[in-house]
């Protein structure tokens, strides 16, 4: 699943413009305050002011009193719209939702919840990572809405969200207001799993992995499970397998499941990343087959267990190793 996405090899995020002050998180909430908002006319704004100058000159030239009045009304409109544009972005409260961990190469999706605590609605708010795709939302008065921003992950470990650029040109597109929000949001990037062909170490074999049984009893038949590569032929229930499709292995009470040790030293890659990659693939496979597995890394080892939590724990350990 990870390799289905083709990344341009030269992909790089442009560095954020540091001369703009960014709003930072207080109590995990970012408030777009007065100090963080910047405003400039758009090119429509410039065109508008040009037209106003034209109208003013015309009014002077033809001594059109009402021409003055209308020119000034439009000038007032432009000025007021500047305030409204500013107001459309100001005082928004941004909270980052936790980003779900992804595998390296996949798209990390950061979700921002933007709350509007004022009693006027906000329209056409853009949010984007610098240089990235933007998301547009409206936010109702006293309401909130969420923006989804994506970032392509490259390598394992913590991926920090770059500063987010919020902007708007509502209501009349004459002004562009923007602000940067600095967040400490991070997304955990699991290592890129190697190719699926790298098979799981055998539960019975020595060296590469070892079997650990809590109680080595064969006494109490508990049920069947599907055959996995490396299961002892003695355990295959041939009778049952002939009735069902595929091989079935007998399981006994007290054994629970076969216990795998996924050992860093058993991997064959030429460098660290390849080895981690292989371990990741093994964790995926083991989890898919619902095996009980443990992880043994140079500085850390995780006791064998099953379940989503354990799965994420193992992948986290691999990601930040």
């Amino acid at each position: 699943m990870a390799n289905s996405l083709n990344l341009p090899s030269d992909f790089k995020l442009s560095s954020p413009k540091t001369w703009f002050r960014a709003a930072t998180a207080v109590n995990s909430t970012v408030l777009l305050g007065r100090k963080h908002l910047y405003i400039l006319p758009t090119r429509f704004g410039w065109l508008y002011s040009l037209l106003l100058v034209g109208l003013l000159v015309g009014s002077i030239n033809y001594s059109l009193s009402l021409g003055f009045a209308m020119t000034f009304l439009l000038a007032g409109l432009g000025t007021i719209s500047m305030l409204h544009t500013w107001r459309n972005l100001a005082y928004l409260k941004i909270t980052f939702r936790r980003a779900k961990p992804v595998f390296a190469g996949e798209i990390a999706q950061f979700e921002l919840v933007v709350a509007n605590e004022n009693n006027f609605a906000r329209y056409n708010i853009f949010a984007s990572f610098t240089g990235g795709e933007s998301d547009v939302q409206d936010i109702a008065a006293l309401g909130e809405n969420s923006f989804k921003l994506s970032l392509i992950s490259q390598k394992r470990g913590w991926l920090s969200a770059p500063r987010v650029r919020f902007s708007t040109e509502f209501p009349v597109s004459l002004f562009h207001v923007w602000a940067y929000a600095e967040t400490k949001s991070q997304c955990l990037i699991y290592p890129n799993p190697g190719l699926p062909s790298q098979r799981l170490p055998s539960a019975d074999a020595d060296g590469a992995s070892g079997q650990l049984s809590s109680s080595q009893g064969d006494e109490d038949f508990a049920g069947h499970r599907h055959y996995q590569f490396g299961d002892s032929p003695k355990r295959v229930d041939w009778k049952a397998s002939s009735r069902e499709q595929g091989l079935l292995v007998k399981q006994f009470q007290g054994e629970a499941t076969s216990t795998l040790w996924l050992d860093f030293n058993a991997t064959t890659g030429s460098n660290l990343e390849q080895r981690i990659s292989q371990l990741t693939r093994w964790v995926l496979e083991a989890d898919k087959q619902a095996l009980k597995y443990g992880l043994r890394l140079p500085q850390q080892s995780i006791q064998p267990s099953t379940g989503r939590n354990h799965y994420h724990q193992c992948l986290t350990a691999l990601a930040i190793m």
Binding site: F44, L73, N124
Partner: protein, 673 residues
């Protein structure tokens, strides 16, 4: 961002645009060639159908020739692509055609901005009140369109509703109004023009011309357009004294009378004045001529009693240096009793006796008989007036055409004419009899508007009369029309004409209700003209002077403007931009007051802290007030979280309203030390 600009707007956007442009083009209907608004109607309908039925937009091969054809048609209609009318027409046509390629957000925004510009251009043609209102509607629609277009975005889940857009557009315009007013009043007014104004700019302004021939004034009399308005500071003189002096015509040439050439340099006629002055202010409608209408006879002693930029001609006609192209206001001071030109120079005398030879033999013969009878000049004048009075002369707006000998034809044949017929034939007679005479054109009378206590003088009040020079008396006004139709001079043109004459509706005596309504409307209009349209540098300075009680230099206006605008902007910004987190709940409001009081003495509630917990902590810190604090906390907590009491249990529990009142009281009473 750029991809956002390519988005297709919703249906409301195009509706807003079409409606507002519809208003604008309707206004232009009276001022541009008919085919311009017509072409807009066609393109607007086309664009509407495109939006409604999802028709394809016309391709470039269709649009390009259309644009070209539009340009050519303007060129053919107006003879040029420049000049006021032609350039506005070109802009109109281009906007109408651009409708067909207005599809994306960017197109709409550019279109709206151009339409703002175009809409204001109507003011080049008219500045009436109702036009102003219509413009405001158009600007409102355009603003709504701009908001609608700006709202388009890929993921806008809320359907754009026209109500939101209309509300916001109204709000923006309302909030822009104070800025507009301040700028309007305080923006330093530079008297224009900065550069030359196209020749065609003042077409359609009507007024007295520099020459007169039979029919020229009665043409003018068909118009009920206001020529000028006059406010008197003292009592208004009687109607028969209200002669408003315009061009003085000396030179006769066939049926045509013209002014003396500017090249002739004659001394200004002397003036002796008697009696009271009459002071008044005139608001003159633009007529694209130099003359300033003045009540007979303007005082020139000292010379600065004349309006600014005005000079006086030798025959006491007041003219401005520039043609009157905007509504102007000036003061006048007239003496109703005067003696003009006690001596007549040779040159003047020859000018005042000039006649083309060998014309109108019958008239000359009549004049000769009076001369041969040894009559004095005064007797000759009287003889002429008696002739007008006693013979069946008729005063009418529809005189018959005159033949090759116009004065003969009129005096001896048709005997039906308007003021210019009487004035010109009278002067002709006088000159033929050797009495120096000249024609004065101008306006006579005026209608009192009781709503504003001023006189309205219309084009239909245009008049022509004669002046004859008499030894010892100077130039004396003789109005031959008064001999024919005395009521014309006594009470106005409408009484002097029979009903069959086609006088403009508003100058007639019937329909008193309509007339009253009209007079009220005219009072409004006059105020509009005085204070809005006529607001210029002079008025600006006068207003500031009266507000600040001191003279203001023109350059200081800029400073005042800056100061006022800054204060205004700060005020508006404060109102709009402060962070108002609304608390509508009165209970919470009261509790916040309580928290404020506590925080003054250094006890602050954490946001996560429960009300009761905080109450306990605060009570510990302020043992003196512990009971009050705990009661308030418990009361607030129970209002906020307890079940609202039903009527059944009213006896043993206070209801929420009473609880709130109690809470407010307790908090109010709480004084922390």
């Amino acid at each position: 961002m750029t991809s956002q600009l390519k988005l297709q707007p919703n249906q409301f956007t195009i509706h807003w645009l079409l409606i507002s442009l519809g208003i604008t083009f309707t206004l232009f209907l009276f001022h541009l060639s008919n085919w311009v608004p017509a072409s807009f109607a066609v393109f607007a309908l086309w664009r509407y159908l495109i939006a409604k039925n999802n028709w394809p937009y016309p391709k470039l091969w269709l649009r390009l020739p259309l644009t070209f054809a539009g340009g050519i048609t303007v060129l053919v209609t107006y003879g040029s692509l420049f000049g006021r009318d032609a350039s506005v027409a070109l802009l109109a046509v281009m906007i109408a055609m651009k409708l067909l390629e207005t599809r994306t957000k960017r197109d709409f925004i550019v279109m709206v901005l151009l339409s703002y510009f175009f809409t204001v251009n109507i003011l080049l043609f008219t500045q009436a009140i109702w036009v102003c209102l219509a413009i405001l509607f158009a600007l409102f629609g355009l603003t709504a369109c701009l908001i609608s277009a700006s709202r388009q975005s890929a993921s806008s889940k809320h359907p754009a509703t026209w109500r939101v857009e209309a509300k916001l557009a109204g709000k923006l315009l309302m909030q822009a109004t104070p800025i507009m007013l301040v700028l309007f009043v305080l923006f330093p007014r530079i008297p224009g023009p900065i550069w030359g104004i196209p020749q065609d700019a003042y077409r359609g302004m009507s007024g007295l011309s520099d020459s007169m021939e039979p029919g020229s004034i009665n043409q003018l009399s068909l118009s009920s357009k206001v020529a000028f308005r006059a406010e008197f500071k003292s009592t208004i003189p009687a109607n028969n004294q209200l002669y408003w002096r315009g061009p003085v015509l000396w030179h006769q040439e066939g049926r045509r009378w013209t002014m003396t050439s500017d090249k002739i340099n004659l001394p200004t006629e002397s003036l002796e004045t008697f009696g009271e002055t009459s002071n008044y202010i005139i608001t003159l409608e633009p007529h694209n001529r130099n003359w300033l209408l003045m009540l007979d006879l303007q005082d020139t002693n000292p010379p600065d009693t004349l309006p600014e930029d005005a000079t006086i001609k030798h025959d006491r006609q007041v003219v401005s240096k520039q043609p009157v192209r905007t509504r102007i206001r000036y003061e006048g001071r007239a003496y109703l009793q005067y003696k003009l030109a006690s001596k007549l120079g040779d040159h003047e005398r020859s000018l005042a006796l000039q006649l083309i030879e060998d014309e109108n033999p019958k008239t000359r013969q009549l004049a000769n008989t009076w001369v041969n009878q040894q009559k004095s000049h005064v007797e000759i004048i009287q003889a002429a007036l008696i002739m007008f009075r006693d013979q069946p002369f008729i005063y009418t707006l529809a005189p018959p055409l005159l033949g090759n000998q116009p004065v003969d034809d009129f005096l001896f044949n048709t005997k039906r004419g308007f003021c210019e017929h009487y004035a010109s034939s009278f002067v002709y007679l006088m000159r033929a009899a050797g009495v120096p005479a000249r024609i004065v054109t101008g306006y006579q009378g005026g209608e009192l508007n009781p709503s504003g206590n001023y006189l309205i003088i219309r084009q239909s009040d245009a008049h022509a009369w004669a002046e004859v020079w008499l030894q010892d008396q100077g130039w004396v006004r003789v109005d031959p029309t008064s001999a024919v139709a005395p009521s014309r001079i006594e009470s106005g043109i409408s009484t002097a004409l029979s009903d069959s004459d086609l006088l403009p509706l508003l100058s007639r005596q019937d329909y008193p209700m309509l007339k009253k309504l009209y007079l009220n409307w005219d009072a409004v209009n006059n105020g509009w003209n005085q204070w809005v349209l006529g607001y210029d540098q002079q008025k600006q300075l006068a207003l500031l002077k009266s507000l600040l009680h001191r003279d203001i230099a023109w350059a200081d206006i800029g400073l005042i403007l800056m100061a006022v605008i800054i204060v205004l902007m700060l005020l508006i910004s404060y109102i709009l931009l402060r962070n108002t987190v609304v608390i509508t709940d009165p209970v919470k409001k009261a509790y916040l007051k309580f928290l404020k009081k506590l925080s003054h003495v250094g006890v602050n509630k954490f946001q996560h802290e429960g009300v009761i917990d905080f109450g306990k902590r605060a009570a510990q810190q302020l043992p003196k007030h512990s009971s009050e604090i705990e009661v308030i906390s418990a009361l607030y907590s129970s209002i906020q979280y307890a079940k609202p009491t039903t009527t059944k249990t009213k006896e043993n529990r206070i209801d929420n309203h009473a609880a709130l009142q109690l809470l407010k009281q307790l908090i109010k009473k709480l004084t922390l030390t």
